[in-house]
Symmetry: C2
Subunit: 370 residues, 2 copies
């Protein structure tokens, strides 16, 4: 979640009051399941700047990005079908697979993302129905898939007719380095379904996301959306639409990224200063998270978590991002949500908790195994 | 959908501005999946006036009533499981069953609702996982299940361990006669899950509904909600909460019901004046709809619909409320959404379209069958 002090509260208030002035009761009636048409057109314009070409008829408004992902899973998969993801992957897709009774399997990554050699073997053996990927600033690893691998992934999936669900939620959270086109912008075969939203970059609590896909899936998705909740709140859609029209998002992205870069630098410096040596940390060029692996000689991330909480600092335990129990020595730290002084203090406390526990572990190592 | 001229737009504007003044960014952050706690407490108070006793820990906020129904279906049923409903039933539950790949079967009704003798046979033969009912002002039939049958239904379902999903959305849309307690208020065995919302009685476009159930289902429902969309928009929850605290709903119900009664009377008088004899119409004591059956000697509801649309008047064709193709001669007319002058004019046009078609049918009857 983005830091609350970033939220454009005054812009939102103004947008809502303008919408109620202009549209009155119309802004509060049922909206069509596809979503408020002017918002769909504005999203078309917005993603066109990222290289994605689509018509408003291929944009479906959802109750946040999570709902977009869930609707796609529900539209394309039956119970027991296989869903592939990166490993580690976004917690929310694991939640969806478990509650929807869908099989989920993670494909290992290297520094460039999903390992395509492993993916191909898996496709041939197991016939997955969908591949979910987050190619830019992957949550939790922060990795970015380079353009050549994006192309290879699309070609491979097109060859085997496996749709790709691209989660683009962090795509514009880049604060250094060159932007790489979303999969959907590179896709000429209509194999990519793109989901994203205005929850991370603008206002989480308004819950406005979207799905962009070609006609073959669109109608089915609209039916699933209609069954799920009829439509996304019309007032929220209109308020976001007006904020986009007024350029609030562009300002917001610029401001967010400037501040996120600063926080990342503070986090990396604090990690180097306060944490015991031997751990490896990602050096993300964007996004909200540091992803680290700690030395296996010490406590697991879950064991450290208990001590850390007692000193008033928290992080996400690596395990939760894996579907196979891996990640015991991984941790994800959200530097985006904390103010700079808290980041520094947090790492200090984490380092202390870690050292205290590491001492116990060092002593345990000396105890002969029976 | 309720008539837009009923929407308390000024109250909403005031509530949103107050929430933003008081809570600022907090009103725009992620909300917990269970929902905004003060709203859950207010709903506890609200339903307690209807005889339902629960704690805020048993109230889950949803994105409208439709989402509440969908979450319960997803939480309790797997693909291929059997869901029972009244026949005819709410269109939205048919949508859900089809998109979730759940079997659906409608149990015939009499004037007092669901036929329990048929239900019992069906339970014994087919082991349904859930029964969905709308005991007050059922959509589309407008029927109300009397208290004795509510008790019998609960006892039967408790005996066979079949949970009941009660849709209470029209419960307070009563403009004459005595109110009958919701199933959930009568249920002492924890077999009833209650869904309702503030979409029909207050503001459709804010999409705030709720589920009330006992602990056995609650945790699972929260997990499904979290996977579905993380949470319902926090701003919308806080605005509705403030409006409830300020007594807007109570005023609104009183005003709605006064006006709905007037519209029903106009609709019944207009139906008697303008429509050909031989059709039977419901005489609802509440809700938004007239439900009618036309003589089978004339055109079907679908055939009449085409002519009606050409004269600028629409209704819902009976078929869509049945899962077995029945209802060809039924129609549902929404008198709630139209202003009185439009109701009168609408029936006039419908009567004309009907008579024109009926003439053709009368002539067809004279053509000998080959």
């Amino acid at each position: 979640s983005p830091p609350p002090e970033f939220f454009p509260v005054a812009h939102l208030r103004d947008a809502i009051n303008t919408v109620l002035d202009q549209d009155g009761a119309k802004a509060l009636a049922y909206e069509v399941s596809e979503g408020y048409l002017p918002l769909r057109a504005t999203i078309r314009d917005y993603v066109s700047a990222l290289g994605i070409r689509c018509s408003p008829d291929h944009v479906l408004i959802t109750g946040g990005t999570q709902q977009g992902i869930d609707l796609v899973v529900q539209a394309l998969l039956s119970e027991g079908d296989l869903l592939l993801t990166e490993s580690p992957t976004y917690l929310g897709i694991i939640d969806i697979a478990r509650t929807r009774r869908v099989q989920i399997h993670g494909i290992p990554m290297d520094d460039d993302g999903l390992r395509l050699d492993i993916l191909e073997n898996y496709i041939l053996d197991r016939h997955p129905r969908l591949i979910y990927v987050m190619p830019s600033f992957q949550n939790p690893s922060g990795r970015v898939m380079p353009l050549h691998r994006r192309r290879q992934l699309i070609n491979m999936c097109a060859e085997y007719h496996v749709p790709i669900l691209e989660d683009g939620i962090y795509h514009e959270f880049r604060f250094e380095g060159e932007s790489i086109a979303p999969l959907k912008a590179v896709d000429e075969q209509g194999i990519v379904i793109h989901v994203s939203g205005f929850t991370k970059n603008l206002l989480p609590g308004l819950r406005i996301g979207y799905v962009i896909c070609d006609g073959v899936h669109y109608e089915r998705l609209v039916r699933v959306k209609h069954a799920a909740d009829i439509s996304t709140p019309s007032l929220n859609q209109r308020a976001i639409h007006l904020m986009l029209e007024r350029g609030v998002l562009a300002q917001q992205l610029e401001r967010n990224n400037r501040e996120l870069r600063r926080r990342r630098d503070i986090a990396l410096a604090a990690a180097a200063r306060h944490l015991p040596p031997g751990s490896r940390w990602s050096q993300p060029q964007g996004g909200l998270y540091l992803w680290g692996e700690r030395p296996k000689s010490g406590p697991t991330a879950a064991e450290l978590f208990i001590s850390a909480i007692q000193t008033g600092v928290a992080y996400a335990i690596g395990n939760v991002f894996f579907t196979n129990g891996a990640g015991s020595y991984h941790m994800r730290i959200n530097y985006g949500i904390q103010r700079p002084a808290e980041i520094e203090e947090g790492f200090k406390r984490l380092g202390r908790a870690w050292r205290d526990l590491a001492v116990d572990y060092a002593e345990m190592d000396k105890i002969p195994l029976l």
